[in-house]
């Protein structure tokens, strides 16, 4: 995953629960690393490990990736980044953090926040979640008030133009950032990646998603959000806060 995971538990959590949480994240990282040649994923990609012999969670993740590829009409495709190799990184981070939230819940925590590089799992609430402005450093495009939800934002600002439309092989164009709110971080992250890759077609596609709300900021600061997303906004409207008409 290659990024820090921040945990906020206002009511506190036992040291053991937090140890367990980070042990799980390390396990997920070691298993799905595309950089560590000893990871199950790398061994799978080199043909040294058969899918049937892989960890059951590896099979689960790859099966879920395949479902998401179908659900996004190919815009989320773990086969895309490297020809002949699988790179499920786009799902693994959110998936692993969502499961980490489950560990904390089972340890008795009721109100907490997990932040994996700007992709967020919230339990309890309400929490106030700022959505980073895609062009203006330190500014927010919107503020949401949320409980028991996951929020994922994909944008070109994160690590350069890091999202490629698998269908064209070119960097996605048209959208500056896509934010998805939903019940599961892995899915929300995959949907945000897919909608971003779809560019101008993304907002229309996000409007078809059940149980998810979305906001897309397009080039020219045009903002297209689902009505449910606007309902989640606290304070000024999205359009006003980015200075453009939706």
């Amino acid at each position: 995953m290659g990024m820090p995971v921040r945990v906020r538990v206002p009511g506190g959590a036992g040291a053991h629960a937090l140890d367990e949480l980070f042990a799980w994240l390390r396990f997920a990282d070691a298993t799905f690393s595309t950089y560590d040649p000893r990871s199950e994923l790398c061994r799978l990609n080199r043909g040294e490990l058969g899918l049937g012999d892989a960890h059951p969670l590896v099979r689960d993740v790859l099966a879920r990736c395949e479902e998401l590829r179908a659900a996004t009409d190919g815009a989320f495709d773990v086969r895309a980044p490297l020809p002949g190799a699988l790179d499920p990184t786009g799902l693994v981070k959110g998936w692993a953090v969502e499961r980490a939230a489950g560990l904390l819940e089972r340890a008795g925590a009721r109100r907490f926040l997990l932040d994996a590089g700007g992709d967020v799992v919230l339990r309890g609430g309400p929490w106030r979640v700022g959505i980073r402005h895609p062009r203006l450093a330190g500014r927010l495009a919107a503020v949401l008030e949320l409980s028991d939800a996951a929020v994922a934002t994909s944008g070109a600002y994160e690590r350069g133009a890091h999202i490629v439309d698998p269908r064209s092989g070119r960097p996605a164009a048209g959208a500056l950032s896509v934010t998805i709110v939903g019940p599961d971080l892995g899915t929300a992250d995959a949907y945000a990646t897919a909608a971003f890759a779809m560019g101008g077609r993304g907002p229309g596609w996000t409007a078809t998603l059940a149980y998810h709300e979305a906001m897309t900021i397009l080039e020219g600061d045009r903002v297209l959000a689902t009505p449910g997303f606007v309902d989640l906004c606290a304070g000024p409207t999205i359009a006003a806060s980015v200075g453009a008409a939706a």
Partner: protein, 135 residues
Amino acid sequence: MRRALAALALTAAAVVLLARYETHPPAKPPPPDKRAPAPPKPGLRAGTGPLVTTPFSSIQVRAELTRGRLTGVRTIALTGADAHTNEINARAEPILREEALSAGSADIDVVSGATYTSESWIASLRAAIRAARRG
């Protein structure tokens, strides 16, 4: 709203987690660090990452390892739009500071969408840890 964070050890653990993966190694090796003091005690090794610049700021991170474990992180240079965040100590502060600058959003709990600052900070930290390991 309370802004309590989980235990300090947790932050260190998270730093170790990211340190193990060199997602985006910098193109050139880190320059010698003129500002860094000599290691004050045996077993401690320190390294400094390259100055990483973004459209908005420049960041350089110094990592301290004690017997191979990351025991301290300091941001030793940070200029530009985020210059007010001029020192981050990973033992006492959250790894990623999210500054809620918009009016009326002072009580933001978290920001969705990564920032240039956090990306550069992570890149410099990775290089600093590599430098410290090389001793």
